[in-house]
């Protein structure tokens, strides 16, 4: 029986899996290592290690301006998509309206379609409306495209909450407004934070849509993109390493929140008679 047990050893497969992991992580390791390389982004071996590129990076004002721009856009996109996504999730969960099935699909399109199509379509709207390309158009683009993520996450959250609490609140005389603020929203707290973090990360990293909606002020990915065309130094490795570190930190936070929400659900299930 032990020969057939599903966890029996198979060294070849284990080696193959290790190679796939190497393929996934090697480029990132190289990127980080060369951010400390005195002699540039290439060459081998990297003999002289230095922190100069990080020093140069911290003194590089355009980069930090673009970081600030990215933070502004991401913050705005989170607020916009969470607000609309919350309403959309409530509507999908509780209201019936003509075109509901179409709406559900339409919201998801920016996730499915190549970014270039969504970006160019929004560019056409901007041109039609006579707006100027700026960080605001980028924010509108991100916020709109990411409603998909907010709606999906919050709809899933709503499906798991206990509708009886809202019924009780309304029966006991609370107005729908009070019920929303004191029951619905607190119940969705973890979903809101998880969705917000996900949207924030996606917005900070977005290029394809941003590419067509950007005005004079760059976001961080577009600032880096512009520099790639001019000759590259390990300063870009350094900023990439920092982005990597921040992304990993955000995942850990997101993961913890996820775990807590699963834990909270389990507790709720146990407490139910």
């Amino acid at each position: 029986m032990s020969r057939h047990s599903p966890t029996r050893r198979s060294p070849l497969l284990a080696i193959y899996a290790a190679l796939v992991f190497a393929f996934i992580y090697l480029p990132l390791a190289v990127l980080i290592l060369y951010s400390f390389n005195r002699d540039g982004v290439g060459g081998f071996p990297p003999l002289h290690l230095t922190l100069d590129w990080y020093r140069q990076l911290f003194a590089d004002e355009p980069i930090w301006d673009s970081v600030l721009n990215s933070l502004l856009v991401a913050g705005g996109a989170v607020a916009l998509s969470l607000t609309l996504g919350l309403l959309a999730a409530l509507a999908l969960d509780r209201a019936s309206f003509p075109g509901k099935a179409l709406f559900r699909r339409l919201v998801l399109l920016p996730l499915i379609l190549p970014g270039i199509i969504t970006g160019l379509s929004l560019l056409m709207l901007v041109v039609l409306s006579g707006l100027h390309l700026s960080l605001l158009t980028v924010l509108l683009g991100h916020g709109t495209a990411l409603i998909s993520v907010a709606t999906t996450e919050l709809f899933a959250g709503l499906q798991k909450t206990d509708r009886a609490q809202e019924e009780a609140s309304l029966d006991l005389g609370a107005t729908p407004w009070q019920t929303f603020w004191r029951i619905t929203l607190p119940n969705l707290k973890l979903s809101l934070v998880a969705a917000g973090l996900l949207i924030f990360t996606l917005s900070m990293d977005e290029i394809a849509v941003t590419f067509f909606l950007i005005g004079r002020d760059n976001t961080l990915p577009l600032e880096i993109w512009g520099r790639l065309r001019r000759g590259i130094t390990p300063e870009i490795n350094a900023v990439s390493t920092l982005i990597f570190a921040v992304s990993v930190a955000l995942i850990v936070i997101w993961y913890r929140i996820r775990m807590r929400s699963i834990g909270a659900e389990a507790k709720q299930l146990l407490q139910r008679p």
Partner: protein
């Protein structure tokens, strides 16, 4: 239980917003594809010329064909990397399963640009790989065909999409009831036929979803070709980008975009139906 006013308040803003900022833009894209440019000015003169150009000019067919080849290769490579990895994690990783799973997920969150840039510094003629090859005396001249080629695009996109492909495959492998696998062994099937007759068919929905991800996401990519593809790695979305930029022929660019859009949607529709047929519930 919810009043009419409540329902209106929650559904009206998202409906209006999505109508104005998603439906209208996509409709504009569609409309542009039937318009024309005359003397450098966009005219709202309805016609089918743009689509005719796409069908008759061999340049577009050539680039589209290359794009499909690249997207197909990315799909195949990420399946070849992602499936065995998912299989290993699901069936053979024992107690390290959770940790290894997290290790596959982490790169999903790492910036697209960061990962693309990493390959650029590795593959370049003065890059890390060439430095290593010369250091180890494997070559004496820098190998220049690595960067700026369809190969580099396939490599970069495979690197990016392997974790994407892994996810749905892993999920479907995890859903296979283990007694089925044990029953297959107990009834005398060896590992090989258990895999091909039990595990692979049951994981088909995940495999299809992963394959579609990789194919569709590669199909419309224009950044990887710009970053590592060079002129021989140009893809269809790069043509769109030039038509909207330097060339200024929005209607033709819109016609290509609409074609990509329709191709993407029909692929998704098709695989969704296949997935339904393959799922065993």
């Amino acid at each position: 239980m919810y009043s009419r006013a409540y329902k209106t308040i929650v559904s009206a803003p998202p409906l209006l917003w999505v109508g104005l900022f998603l439906l209208l833009p996509y409709a504009l894209m569609f409309a542009h594809s039937f318009w024309a440019v005359e003397d450098g000015v966009l005219v709202h003169h309805w016609n089918l010329d743009n689509y005719e150009k796409l069908l008759t000019n061999p340049l577009y067919a050539e680039v589209l064909f290359r794009t499909l080849r690249i997207a197909g290769s990315v799909m195949l490579c990420s399946l070849l990397l992602g499936y065995p990895l998912a299989y290993y994690l699901s069936f053979h990783s024992g107690g390290r399963k959770e940790l290894l799973y997290q290790l596959v997920i982490v790169p999903l969150w790492v910036s697209y640009l960061v990962r693309g840039y990493a390959w650029k510094t590795i593959l370049g003629s003065e890059g890390v790989l060439n430095g290593f090859l010369q250091y180890a005396h494997i070559t004496h001249e820098p190998v220049s065909f690595l960067l700026y080629s369809p190969f580099a695009v396939i490599l970069m996109l495979t690197h990016i999409y392997t974790p994407f492909v892994f996810l749905p495959i892993y999920a479907s492998l995890e859903h296979i009831p283990r007694p089925l696998v044990e029953a297959s062994h107990d009834l005398g099937a060896n590992s090989f036929s258990t895999f091909f007759r039990v595990i692979l068919p049951l994981s088909m929905p995940g495999l299809l979803a992963g394959a579609t991800f990789a194919f569709v996401l590669s199909l419309g990519d224009f950044l990887a070709p710009l970053l590592v593809g060079g002129s021989s790695g140009t893809m269809i979305a790069n043509i769109v980008q030039t038509l909207f930029g330097a060339v200024y022929d929005w209607p033709l660019g819109a016609a290509i975009s609409v074609s990509i859009l329709l191709l993407t949607l029909s692929l998704l529709f098709f695989t969704q139906r296949l997935e339904k047929r393959w799922s065993f519930k």
